[in-house]
């Protein structure tokens, strides 16, 4: 006998993601899921974002890492509230891990939570964590063919940060072609060329974050 099922294979994760969403909506906290390859500049962007949002919004970072807590220590040393999840070799974070992290954060004192996902451009794309926005960082030394190789994440991200713009004179990165590819496959995406180390472009990026916080809160008022 055949039984029709039609269920998303990851539906247990999706249900947990909805629980996270409900929890955060109750606290009016916007959560942003940050994707990138290892070394693209996720932690650097978190540090810069914290500087830019200082006095404007209270943020925390959930750090997903395969095995170390170096990034969490770096953030905490800079005064950013951060919590570490070690995936023990796992290639992605799931909504259950985020749920546990959320319960260990001071939710009444936060406006925005960023999730620094595991450095990987394939697996995290399948796992809804309960975030409001997904962002992807590509860095110029990685070359402009990343969206062709990893289309899933580039087609569903809400914003795409192009990091390490200061290295443009030294690398072969065709920014026009990259931008056309990403905005072609993903109509709603917004592009932010930045240099995380020098701070260029961070103001526009931080404006986008704050604008979305306002939108998020209006929708939940």
């Amino acid at each position: 006998m055949e039984i029709k099922v039609l269920r998303n294979i990851l539906d247990a994760n999706d249900q947990m993601a909805e629980q996270n969403r409900t929890l955060l909506a109750g606290k009016k906290i916007m959560m942003v899921n940050v994707w990138a390859s290892p070394g693209a500049g996720k932690t650097t962007l978190m540090l810069r974002t914290a500087e830019a949002l200082k006095d404007k919004a209270r943020m925390a970072v959930i750090e997903g890492d395969v095995a170390s807590s170096i990034d969490t220590v770096k953030l905490m040393e800079s005064g950013v509230t951060a919590i570490q999840i070690n995936t023990d070799g796992g290639c992605h974070l799931d909504a259950g891990m985020i749920h546990t992290a959320l319960l260990n954060l001071p939710l009444d004192e936060l406006d925005i939570i960023f999730i620094e996902n595991v450095g990987n451009l394939i697996c995290p794309g399948e796992f809804d964590l309960g975030e409001y926005k997904k962002i992807i960082i590509a860095s110029t030394p990685e070359g402009e063919d990343k969206p062709h190789k990893y289309p899933l994440m580039f087609t569903i991200a809400n914003a795409c940060v192009i990091n390490k713009m200061d290295l443009m004179p030294y690398v072969n990165f065709d920014i026009d072609s990259f931008t056309r590819t990403v905005t072609g496959m993903n109509q709603g995406v917004e592009m932010f060329p930045i240099s995380g180390t020098r701070g260029h472009g961070i103001d526009k990026w931080a404006d986008w974050v704050l604008k979305n916080l306002v939108k998020y809160r209006i929708n939940r008022a």
């Binding site: 055949e2 039984i3 294979i9 994760n13 992605h92 697996c123 399948e126 062709h148 289309p151 590819t181």
Partner: protein, 113 residues
Amino acid sequence: MHEMTITRSLVDITLEEAGKANATKVTSVSIVLGEMSGAVDQSVEFYFELMTRDTIAEGAKINFRKVPNRAKCRKCGNIFKPGGIFWECDKCHSMEMEIISGRELYVESIEVD
């Protein structure tokens, strides 16, 4: 890769649905995988075999239905298959597209006794 997580969920869904139907044996499971989802068949089969030992799904076969990437051109409406380095319309060469398939990842049906 996350085949282990995917397969864990697949086994849970299979046993849950079979239980609801009071089945005594699951003979096959049909899943739909979009081209963009990175799961590797052999790996899913490997974990499935391990995780279903001593359950009513032991020995069940997995049927994989693959769904290719498809996009609809926003300029001319042509439906085409993007892939590799070709993420543009094969008629008008516009790069503006709407992805219409390739992201699937779901259990379609199970066959039980």
